[in-house]
């Protein structure tokens, strides 16, 4: 029936998970500007949470297009529940999802380890920095301040959307739900042969 692209099951599951993260994204907003006035970009360490939908959805469903869809859906969810950043989150979501997707595509959607999701988190960080460059004139910050901003954001992204996302999915695997989601792998066939 739906031969090309993602099946309804994949899309629905991705969107539902993403909306959960959309609410997290929304709650993250006040937290972000609560730590922001502390100065010196401590806020950037938690920025990485806004990339997590893409990596978690990809690790769970393991299909092309899922990361992009998840990040866009999470951004829409955040937007619809009334994000402080308004429409801008849709564009950020689109670009962050796209960059994460490109990382997964570069590995031909064959790797699902902590290194590849960390790379995807780095990809999303680059996307967010590109948009900030145009929107926030971040190149006009004093150089030490800009370096601090960029490195804090990268570190936060790797810790939250790379390492933490990976351990979250590992924990979800123990509940058994992931068996519902993933296409049958080679190991499954091998185990039948025995």
């Amino acid at each position: 029936m739906q031969t090309k692209g993602l099946k309804l099951t994949d899309v629905l599951t991705t969107v539902v998970i993403a909306i959960v993260f959309g609410i997290v994204y929304k709650v993250w907003g006040p937290l972000y500007y609560a730590v922001k006035p502390l100065g010196l970009h401590i806020d950037q360490l938690i920025y990485g949470m806004w990339f997590i939908a893409a990596t978690v959805a990809y690790l769970l469903i393991r299909k092309p297009g899922v990361a992009l869809l998840a990040e866009v859906a999470a951004a829409s969810g955040e937007f619809l529940v009334g994000s402080e950043w308004g429409l801008e989150v849709l564009l950020y979501g689109l670009l962050q999802g796209l960059f994460a997707e490109l990382v997964f595509a570069a590995f031909r959607y064959k790797r699902f380890d902590v290194a590849v999701v960390s790379l995807a988190a780095i990809g999303s960080t680059v996307a967010s920095l590109v948009l900030d460059f145009y929107k926030g004139y971040i190149d006009q910050l004093a150089w030490w301040n800009l370096t601090l901003l960029i490195s804090a954001r990268f570190v936060g992204a790797i810790v939250i959307s790379g390492l933490f996302a990976y351990s979250l999915v590992k924990a979800l695997e123990k509940t058994g739900v992931t068996q519902l989601l993933r296409p049958t792998s080679k190991e499954d066939y091998d185990s039948l042969d025995q």
Binding site: A73, F79, L87, F164
Partner: protein
Amino acid sequence: MRWSMEHKETWLHQTNPTAKLLLFLPMFVVIVFVHNPNVLMNWAVGFTVLFILFSGYRMKHIFLFLLPFLFIFVSTSSSMILFGKGETTWFRWGLIHITEESFYRGVHLGFRALLFAIFGLMFALTTKPVLLFYSLMQQVKLQPKYAYSFLAAIRLLPIMIEEFQTVHQALKVRRAAKASGFRGKLELVKRYAIPLLSQSIRRAQRIAVAMETKGFTNDRKRTFYYEVKLGKYDVYLFVVICMIVAVGYYMADVFPYVAVKDVR
């Protein structure tokens, strides 16, 4: 999500959701390429007035909505004001270096954030999500599998919130609803996320299977429960936006508030 709050249905509510989205999104790009703070100030005033007059919400609610945006204004502008580059020094103390250039740039960024926020709020408060996705299917041919997935997910939100409260209470009873330190906090997020995510995944699977057994297909030739069309109000909105943009631009040229024309 707040459409249940008491409000009047104004013409902004009658506009086509897709048209509204396609009118608002390019504004994002336009605003990013404006470097004159006078223009942004005029636009911010213009669109705030439009929002207050025609969103149909009570003044006290509008002020409550706008409150977090003041934080955004301050937090967005502050790091640029305090740490930005510039020539004409106003104040210097340790790492803090306020210059005329960085000050105006910071204020400019604040107004930019404010404008994005007004657009977002105006859209969210005058659009029903259900109609948005119906409209996207009809006006820009979004594939039904995406639109209906979003619709189903929006329906699931109240259940998720209830589930969150259940988990929260269960953890509280077991004195596991608090944690200290960065690691502890992440562990805590996990404690909440695992049950919520696994239940959501199971539910999504069941819904997808149910939809397909009841004959859901991704065929774009289908009938719609809600027919969403374009109308005269979309033209009104287009004209109003053009007017605010043009007048704001003209006024900034003729009666500038600040002498700075380009903050870069």
